[in-house]
C-alpha cells in the first residue's frame, strides 16, 4: 500500500518510482496484502496522504529532492539508500543568577540531517572513521530556511544531498582501502532491513508563558542568595518543541511532535579546605505544563542550596572498600548511566591498522546470553509507557530517528542479557533494529539510547531491612561504618573544568568510561547515625559490579532526565537531547571501592563575600 501511495504522490512531480526496491520485501508483502484488503479504502487513504504531504512544504520538498537522488552518479553507483531528517524547532529559555535575570532567548531553527549510502547493505560507506568527513568545500548549511517556499527548501536540500553523496563516495573508498591492511573478525552487514513506517501526526502548537517563566526563574534563583559563600549559581528554564520529519528512499514518511521542557538549578562554592563543591537538579517533563508547580520547584532548588552548604561543611570522605547501599533514586541513576550506556551498542569504526580510534565500546557487546545481573532481576525497556504508578515518564516516543517503530524490549531476563538496544546497524547477536536510534552519532551511525528502563526485582525487602543487612556485613568485616549513596551526579551538573578533571583521573585509575561522581554519600554507623562526607569517587564502578547486587528494596523511584549522548550527559553540552526515565529499587552492592578525590583545591578567597543585604 505504501508503494502505491508514493507512486500517486510522485505523479505530479516526477514519474519516478521509489528507490531501493530490493530492501522492500516487507513493503511488497504489505502492498499486496493491502491490495487484497480493499482497493477503494486504499485509494481514499492514498488521497488523504497525498493531500497531507502537499500541504506540508517540508515533506514535499524532502520527497521531491529525495526522488532526484537516483540520478546522482559520480565514479560510482547512485545511492542505494537516502534519508532526510528535519526538525522544525522552536525553543524558549530564560535563566537567572541570584535574583537577576539574563536575557530570555527565543529561537526558531530547522536543522537538517541527510545521509546517503552507497555500496550495498552488507558493505557501505558507514561505520568507518571517514564516514562523516568531507574534503571538499561545503555549500550546504545545516539549517533549512524558515520560510516555506518550496524552491528555497528544495534548494537547501539539494546542496545537502549533493554533499552527503560526495561524502559517501569518498568514505567508501577510504574504508575499502583501510580494510586492505586489516582482518575483520566477523563480517556483519552495515545496514539491516526494516519495514517502512508512515506516521503523519498533525503539528501540535505549544505555547509558553514567557513572562511567567521569567518571573519564576528570577524568584527561584533568589534562593541561592541566602548563602553568602555560594560563588556561582544559576536557575534556568527551557522549552523545546519541534515537528520532527523523517523520509527515506524505502518509503518511510514520518512527521511527529517532539517536546521537552526542563528547569535546571545549579550552584557551587568552596569548602573550608578550598575544595569546590557543586550540586544541581534538572527537572524534566514532556511539556512546560507538565512541570511541577512553583512551590515544588522551589523545594527542589532549596534542596540544592542546602546540599551545597551541607557538603561544604561535611568532612572529606575516606578510602573505603566494602558493601554500598544505593537508595532508589541513586540506583536509578547508575542503572541509567552504566547499564543504559552498555546496552546501547554501536560497532567499533573501521580504521587503518594501528590507528588510534576514539571509541568507547560496550561491555555488553560480547555478553549476549551471559549473566549480567542477579537472576532475580529483569530489565525491560519500554518506549510505549507514559507513566508509572501515577508519575509521568520522559522516555516515550513513537518512531525513532531512522523511522523504525520501537516496541518494548526485554533486555535482561532472570539476570541474563537477552538483547541489546540497536539501530539499523547490526551488532553481534542482534541483526535487526529494535527502534532505539535516538541520538545523532559519529561515523554515520546513530546512537541507541534507553527509553523507559524498568528494573524489576522479583525478591525485595524494605529499605530499612537493607540498611540492617548493610550494618551486619559491616560488623562482620570489622568496619566502623558502611556507605549509603543518596544521589549521583548524573547527568552531571559539573562545569567543563570539573569534567576535565574527572576524565583525567579516570584514565589514571584504570580506564574505561568515566563514571559520574556520587554527590550525597553517607557513612552509616551501627547506632543509626548518618554522616555526610564529601569528595569521594568510585574506583571502577562498571558493569561487573552489577552482577553482585545482593538485594533490592521494595521501594522504587522514578528518575527522569535528558540524555545528550556525551560523557556524563554533561548538562547543557549537547545539541540534541532525548528524554529518558529509569524506574529502579534501591540496591545493595556487595563490594565497591571509593577513594578521596585528589583534585587541586584552589585557595579560599582573601576577600569575604559581599553582604547579602
Amino acid at each position: 500500500m505504501t508503494r502505491r501511495i508514493l507512486a500517486v504522490l510522485f505523479a505530479p512531480v516526477l514519474l519516478v518510482p521509489p528507490l531501493a526496491a530490493r530492501n522492500s520485501s516487507a513493503g511488497a508483502a504489505q502492498a499486496s496484502a493491502a491490495q487484497h484488503a480493499g482497493t477503494q479504502r486504499a485509494d481514499a487513504a492514498a488521497e488523504k496522504l497525498t493531500a497531507a504531504v502537499n500541504a506540508d512544504p517540508i515533506l514535499r520538498a524532502s520527497l521531491e529532492e529525495l526522488a532526484r537522488t537516483r540520478n546522482l552518479r559520480l565514479m560510482s553507483d547512485p545511492p542505494y539508500f537516502v534519508e532526510i531528517g528535519v526538525e522544525d524547532a522552536r525553543t524558549f529559555s530564560v535563566s537567572a543568577s541570584f535574583g537577576a535575570v539574563y536575557d530570555s532567548r527565543e529561537n526558531r531553527f530547522r536543522p537538517v540531517r541527510a545521509a546517503v549510502r552507497v555500496g550495498r547493505a552488507d558493505f557501505d560507506n558507514t561505520g568507518s572513521i571517514y564516514s562523516d568527513y568531507y574534503s571538499g568545500t561545503r555549500y550546504d548549511s545545516q539549517l533549512l530556511p524558515l520560510d516555506n517556499q518550496l524552491l528555497s527548501l528544495r534548494g537547501a536540500l539539494w546542496l545537502t544531498l549533493d554533499r552527503a553523496y560526495k561524502t559517501a563516495v569518498e568514505a567508501i573508498g577510504r574504508k575499502t582501502a583501510a580494510l586492505r591492511g586489516v582482518t575483520v573478525q566477523e563480517k556483519l552487514p552495515d545496514f539491516s532491513a526494516a519495514p517502512p513506517t508512515v506516521v503523519l501526526d498533525p503539528v501540535k502548537p505549544v505555547s509558553v508563558d514567557k513572562g511567567q517563566w521569567t518571573r519564576r526563574v528570577r524568584s527561584l534563583s533568589e534562593i541561592f542568595k541566602a548563602s553568602p559563600q555560594t560563588a556561582a549559581s544559576v536557575v534556568e528554564f527551557q522549552s523545546t518543541h519541534s515537528a520532527s520529519y523523517y523520509v527515506n528512499s524505502e518509503s518511510s514518511l514520518v512527521r511527529v511532535n517532539d517536546q521537552i521542557a526542563y528547569v535546571h538549578a545549579r550552584g557551587s562554592r568552596q569548602a573550608g579546605d578550598g575544595s569546590v563543591v557543586y550540586d544541581g537538579e534538572t527537572v524534566v517533563a514532556l511539556s512546560p505544563a507538565a512541570l511541577p508547580a512553583e512551590p515544588v520547584l522551589a523545594e527542589t532548588v532549596r534542596s540544592v542550596a542546602s546540599n551545597l552548604d551541607r557538603l561544604a561543611e561535611a568532612p572529606p570522605g575516606e578510602t573505603y572498600a566494602g558493601p554500598v547501599l544505593f537508595e532508589p533514586r541513586a540506583a536509578a541513576q547508575i542503572f541509567g548511566e552504566i547499564i543504559g550506556a552498555h546496552l546501547s551498542v554501536v560497532r567499533r569504526p573501521v580504521a587503518e591498522a594501528g590507528r588510534a580510534v576514539p571509541f568507547g565500546g560496550s561491555d555488553f557487546e560480547t555478553r549476549l546470553g551471559a549473566r549480567v545481573l542477579p537472576e532475580w532481576i529483569d530489565l525491560t525497556d519500554d518506549p510505549t509507557a507514559a507513566e508509572y504508578e501515577g508519575q509521568p515518564l520522559a522516555g516515550a516516543y513513537k518512531v525513532d530517528a531512522e523511522g523504525v517503530t520501537p516496541r518494548p524490549a526485554a533486555v535482561v531476563e532472570k539476570g541474563m542479557l537477552k538483547t541489546l538496544l540497536t539501530t539499523r546497524q547490526p551488532v553481534r547477536g542482534v541483526m535487526a533494529s529494535n527502534g532505539r536510534a535516538r541520538l545523532p552519532g559519529a561515523y554515520g551511525i546513530r546512537q541507541p539510547r534507553i527509553s523507559n528502563l524498568f528494573v524489576k526485582a522479583s525478591k525485595s525487602e524494605p529499605m530499612a531491612a537493607l540498611k540492617a543487612r548493610l550494618m551486619e556485613m559491616v560488623k562482620q568485616q570489622g568496619k566502623p561504618y558502611g556507605i549509603l549513596v543518596r544521589k549521583m551526579d548524573y547527568p552531571s551538573h559539573g562545569s567543563i573544568d570539573d569534567l576535565r578533571r574527572l576524565s583525567q583521573r579516570t584514565s589514571s585509575s584504570g580506564g574505561g568510561r568515566p563514571a559520574s561522581n556520587p554527590v550525597l554519600v553517607y557513612q552509616v554507623f551501627p547506632d543509626g547515625r548518618e554522616t555526610l562526607v564529601r569528595g569521594l569517587r568510585f574506583r571502577n564502578l562498571g558493569t561487573r559490579a552489577f552482577r553482585d547486587i545482593l538485594a533490592a528494596s521494595r521501594e522504587s523511584a522514578v528518575f527522569s532526565y535528558m540524555d545528550n549522548g556525551l560523557p556524563l550527559a554533561l548538562s547543557g553540552a549537547g545539541s540534541s537531547v532525548v528524554g529518558c526515565s529509569v524506574v529502579a529499587p534501591g540496591v545493595l552492592f556487595e563490594d565497591l571501592e571509593l577513594e578521596p578525590a585528589s583534585d587541586d583545591a584552589p585557595k579560599l578567597p582573601i576577600v569575604p563575600p559581599p553582604p547579602t543585604n
Binding site: 521531491e64 529532492e65 532526484r68 540520478n71 546522482l72 552518479r73 559520480l74 529559555s93 537567572a96 543568577s97 541570584f98 535574583g99 537577576a100 535575570v101 539574563y102 536575557d103 530570555s104 532567548r105 527565543e106 529561537n107 526558531r108 531553527f109 574534503s135 571538499g136 568545500t137 555549500y139 548549511s141 539549517l143 533549512l144 530556511p145 524558515l146 520560510d147 517556499q149 524552491l151 528555497s152 527548501l153 528544495r154 534548494g155 537547501a156 539539494w158 546542496l159 549533493d162 553523496y165 560526495k166 528570577r218 542568595k225 555560594t230 560563588a231 556561582a232 584552589p602 585557595k603 578567597p605 582573601i606 576577600v607 563575600p609 559581599p610 547579602t612 543585604n613
Partner: protein, 580 residues
Amino acid sequence: MPVLRGILTNVLRTPLVALGVLTVVALTLAPAQSSRQAPNPAGTSQIPALAQTVSSELKRNLDLLAKAEPGAYYISLEITEIDAWDMTASLGALTNSSGMKRRRLDTSVRVGSPAFDNYRVAGGDRPIMSTSTELPIEDDPAALRRIVWREIDRAWRAAAERYVKARSSANLANTEATTADFSSEKPATGSATVPAFKFNPSDWENRIRKHSAAAGIYGVLSSSVTLNVRRETRTFVDSEGAQLTHGRNFARWGVVSRAKAQDGQDLVTSESFEASDPSGLPKDEALAETAKVSGMLVAALLKAPPVDPYVGPAILSGKAAGVFFHEIFGHRVEGHRQKDETEGQTFTNSLGKPVLPPFLSVLFDPTRRTAAGADLNGWYAFDNEGRPAQPVRVVDQGVLKNFLVSREPIKGYPSSNGHGRRQPGFEPVARQSNLIVESSRRVSDAQLRQMLIDEVVRQGKPYGLYFESVTGGFTTTRRRGLQAFTVIPLVVFRIYPNRPPELVRGVDIVGTPLASFEKILATGDKDGVFNGYCGAESGQVPVSAVSPALLVSEIEVQRKPTPTDRPPLLPRPMVSGEMP
C-alpha cells in the same frame, strides 16, 4: 555573453570606486542565539547606577587585596552590554532572525608594581588573565556584587600565579627590560547615553527577503543577505577613579554570494553597507541592486578565465587599497609588536625614516565618525583601558612618526595614545582604529587609468590589473613565520591598452611588505571606505580604512590553490521554464 559585458561597462563608466559600494574585510559576526522584542526605544539607562555598584565592590576588594601576597595595585572592570538583532535571508527565504541582549564582564587585576607586574611579556608569551563572564541584564546590586567578587578573586589568583612565574623568569633572563609594564595616566570620567534606534524586525525581514531574491542568478550556489544591528554600551571603572559610560550603535547590511567553478575553484563576492543607525542604510532599490550585482559578478566569475601568474602594474580601488594598508602596514605599527622579540619588528628601528612615498601620510583617528559619506566602524570615545580616543599621525609625508600604544609602554612611548583595544574575553593590546590615508598626489580616475596604461606599455607588459574588490588577508609578523601577506582579491580585471577589460578569477596577491610600499606611484582623488572587523591577539575589534585608489608600479599575483571537488552534480531545482 550579454550579462558579463553589461557588468563591465557599468563598472568602468562609474568612478573606479565602483558604485559607492563598500567592502567588508573579514567580517565575522557570531550568529545570535536568541530572539526577543525589538530593542526598547525608551531605553532608559540605569548604567551610571551600575557603574557605582561595581565600583564600590571593586574598592571593597582592592582594600584587602592590596595587602595580599603579592599585593594588588590596580583593578579594572569593563561591562560590555550588547543589544543586538541579526537576520539572514538566502535567495528569497528567511533563514534566521533573532535578537539578544547580553552583558559581559571583563575583570583585570594587576599585582606587583607598574614597573613590573603580572602582565610582563616574557619570551613572546602574552598573558591571558582577565576573566570574562556573562552578567545578568538586570541591575540587582546583590547579584552584581556577588559575581564581581567572584571574578576579582579569580583574576587576582591568575595574576598572582603569573607574577610569580614572570619574576622568576626575569631573574634568569639575559635582557633587561627598559620599559614599565603599565603607564601612568590621569583617570577619565564621563557618561553618555547611547541613543536607541528604531528598528522593526519584521519589516526588515521582508526587505532582506526581497534583496536576497535579487541575487538568485543562474550559477550562484549560495547567497545570503545579512542584517546586523547592534547597540553597544560600555561601562568602565577602575581603582584609579576612572568611571565611564559610553558606546555606539552600528548597523550593517551585507551580501555574500558563492559559486564553484567546474575546475573546483571557489568563487566569492561580497559587498556591504554600514551605518550608525539602520535608517542610515541605503534604500531598498540600492540594496536589491547590490545583491543582484553580487550574484551577477559571481556568475560572471564562473565563466572568467583563471589568472596567470603575473608581475606588473596595477590599480587597487579605494576599498582594496584600504585593506592593503590595514594588512601590510597597520599591524606593523601596533605598539606591542615593537618590543616583543618574536615579532618581525619591521618598523621598530624606522622611526624618523621614510617608510612610504613622500606624498602619502597615514593617520589613525578613532575620533572620526564619518569619511567619504560613510559611517566609520573604528570610531570610539574611550578605548578598552578607559583612555580617551586620540588621533595618531603615524606617517607624515612618508616618514614614520609614531606607533599605536596602549597602556603597555614601549620605548619612547611612556603613555597610551588611546588605542588599547580588545574584544570582550581578551586582554587589550594596541590595535588599529580608523586608518586614514592622505595623499598629495591625487589624480582623477581617468588620469589614473591612463597612468596605468602608460606604465603597462613602459614595462612592456601585455596588460595591467585592476583590483575592484578584496576581502580579509592575513599577515605573519613573527620572525619564525614567512614575512608575506595575502590579501584575497574577489573581483579583478585585466586592463588592456587596446582591448576591453576582462574579468579573471582565482587571484592571490603576494609580495613582501617593504617592497610594496616603495612601488606606489600615485593615488586617485576619491576615497573608498572599508568597514570591518580585525582579528588579532585581543580578539575581533571593529575597524575601518579610508583610502583613495592606488596605482602601484609592481604587484605580484599568483593563482589561488584550487580544491578539486566538483560543483553539485544535479542541477538546482527550478520552476520549469526558468532560463539561465
